[in-house]
Symmetry: C2
Subunit: 334 residues, 2 copies
């Protein structure tokens, strides 16, 4: 592991994106989203993911100059076509638009079809919060999760994001619907460590904490077993209807994870009586969670998103930790 200065990481990726056909302003924004993901500790969807993103551009699966266009609008619900543009830029545009709709209608929704992997989903929750809105969004994925009672991966792990504005950094939930991402399971397997809870099924069909055994069957477990299986299926189905684009099944037929569907919902609390008393509600929640006796004495119970700024401060000061080979690879692209 080495550490790389945030500004340098950003600059290097920006150069790579310019070489890949991005125009300057969009290269800067996209590179910044990758760099901030790593800066805030979401390493799997930051620099770690960047070379694959550049590869997807080279393969024609991501069009660096495509911008999303409006397909249909009625009231507070809009459908947009992502035109296979960069997933992170498309998603940012979509959440901004959902917030603009919410500013007029209290609630707004943008269904974005034909788009690409949004990388770190939490980013769009944070963006909603920056806009003063409550954000709720989800994406579909390639088929990577079995339906409950089935052997084949017919569902996606369809990450789901929720965020609520807060002065000291939003409350932020960013969760995929598999218990562990494949990236996390690979890390456990590489370290030879047991998963903290069952991550999937082994060859014998038993739930297993052995990440290598689960990698062998490719049968990961949904959060809450049958419950996450159902939630994954409904999120994808609703997304397919609202976007008019590919379901997880349709994405699977493409053979690579592109052409996804995403749904962005924003609520504007400023339009509620007393502007929703957001800070009050957040503080009540925080003091309730913090007041809980911890399982491990001395460790404070935390709410989702609470550690983000701590990691950010550390990585800003010391640099973003990453594998030396990865940094060499990213530099070779710039």
């Amino acid at each position: 592991m080495i550490r790389v200065d945030f500004a340098e990481a950003k600059r290097t990726m920006e150069a790579a994106l310019l070489r890949s056909g991005f125009v300057r302003e969009r290269a800067a924004l996209s590179a910044s989203l990758f760099a901030v993901a790593s800066l805030e500790g979401v390493y799997t969807h930051g620099l770690e993911r960047f070379p694959r993103f550049v590869e997807f551009i080279a393969k024609g699966w991501v069009d660096p100059v495509a911008e999303p266009v409006l397909v249909s609008a009625v009231g507070a619900l809009e459908r947009w076509d992502g035109r296979l543009g960069p997933g992170n830029l498309n998603a940012l545009t979509a959440m901004d638009r959902a917030c603009a709709l919410a500013r007029d209608s209290g609630i707004g929704c943008v269904a974005l079809g034909n788009t690409n992997h949004w990388m770190r989903g939490g980013q769009y929750g944070l963006r909603a919060a920056e806009n003063g809105c409550i954000g709720l969004c989800w994406t579909n994925t390639t088929p990577n999760l079995p339906a409950w009672g089935g052997l084949d991966n017919v569902l996606g792990n369809n990450p789901l994001v929720m965020a609520v504005p807060r002065a000291d950094g939003p409350v932020l939930l960013d969760m995929a619907l598999s218990q562990f991402s494949w990236g996390k399971m690979e890390a456990y397997a590489a370290r030879g460590e047991e998963l903290p809870v069952a991550g999937g099924w082994d060859e014998a069909g038993s739930l297993s904490r052995d990440a290598r055994a689960v990698a062998g069957t490719r049968r990961a477990v949904p959060v809450g077993f049958w419950k996450g299986s159902g939630l994954s299926l409904l999120l994808d189905l609703v997304g397919a209807i609202l976007t008019g684009g590919a379901s997880v099944g349709g994405v699977g037929q493409r053979g690579s994870e592109h052409g996804l569907g995403q749904v962005f919902v924003a609520f504007d609390p400023a339009l509620l009586p007393d502007e929703g008393r957001v800070a009050e509600a957040v503080e009540e929640m925080a003091s309730r969670v913090h007041g809980s006796r911890p399982v491990s004495p001395g460790q404070r119970v935390r709410f989702p998103g609470e550690s983000r700024l701590v990691v950010r401060e550390e990585n800003l000061a010391k640099g973003i930790p990453l594998r030396e080979e990865l940094w060499a690879e990213i530099r070779s692209l710039g």
Copy 2:
């Protein structure tokens, strides 16, 4: 176990509600919702729950004549005050109103504060689907789930419902965010059976499939462990802001589960291009799920809500199965 004719069950509960202060039309509707829940196999929130509902009326926690009133409206987002009326009638009104908003704006949201337990949440998803809409709704509860890393029950199991219209009966997800409800765990404990997966923690602080051990600590496990803990917290926080009502913390201070907050969101696909091609999306999903090889040979993999009408037909023909003492108790109320 005995079996009771659906119409007789409904009539008996209607009589009990009339004696409890309901007006005729509302007694009929509320009794019907309780009877249909049991008819369709959701026994825990049908007849099984009815005596407690009558008790809550007697205690003044549910006001049988209160109807929800509009508090604030902006565009497609409305806040309503449930005035501690019957939770099932309030929720039905709220989902109907969310659908009416969606008919104008594509999406609509009703945040309902100061209401009561909605009993079977799936009912409001089904109602959205009857209205031709996609439904998404959730409720908070009394504190009954620990936050991840904590010992105390500071979160609710906050049931979440999603439904999509389908000619042969909607796709319907109705899930609480605990892996098992306390009712289900009691049933396992009574039968002396092991839970199929861990349901909570035992005295030693280990995850356990022993329902009695979990009942001893009252520490149930959220779906997906840390993930469901986060989702529960966010749903409640968003609900508290939108409704302006009590969070799970506020409900806990009341000492009994009343004065809840619920959020109802509807999307009207009829306003999308090609009316969202709902049937097509649903059939693609169904054939994908059904095409999955089953874990148990010969058993078809199913999607959420698929078995509902099978149970309904059986119970319509044979009567609703219930405990003899329970039926005697309900009859004594009527």
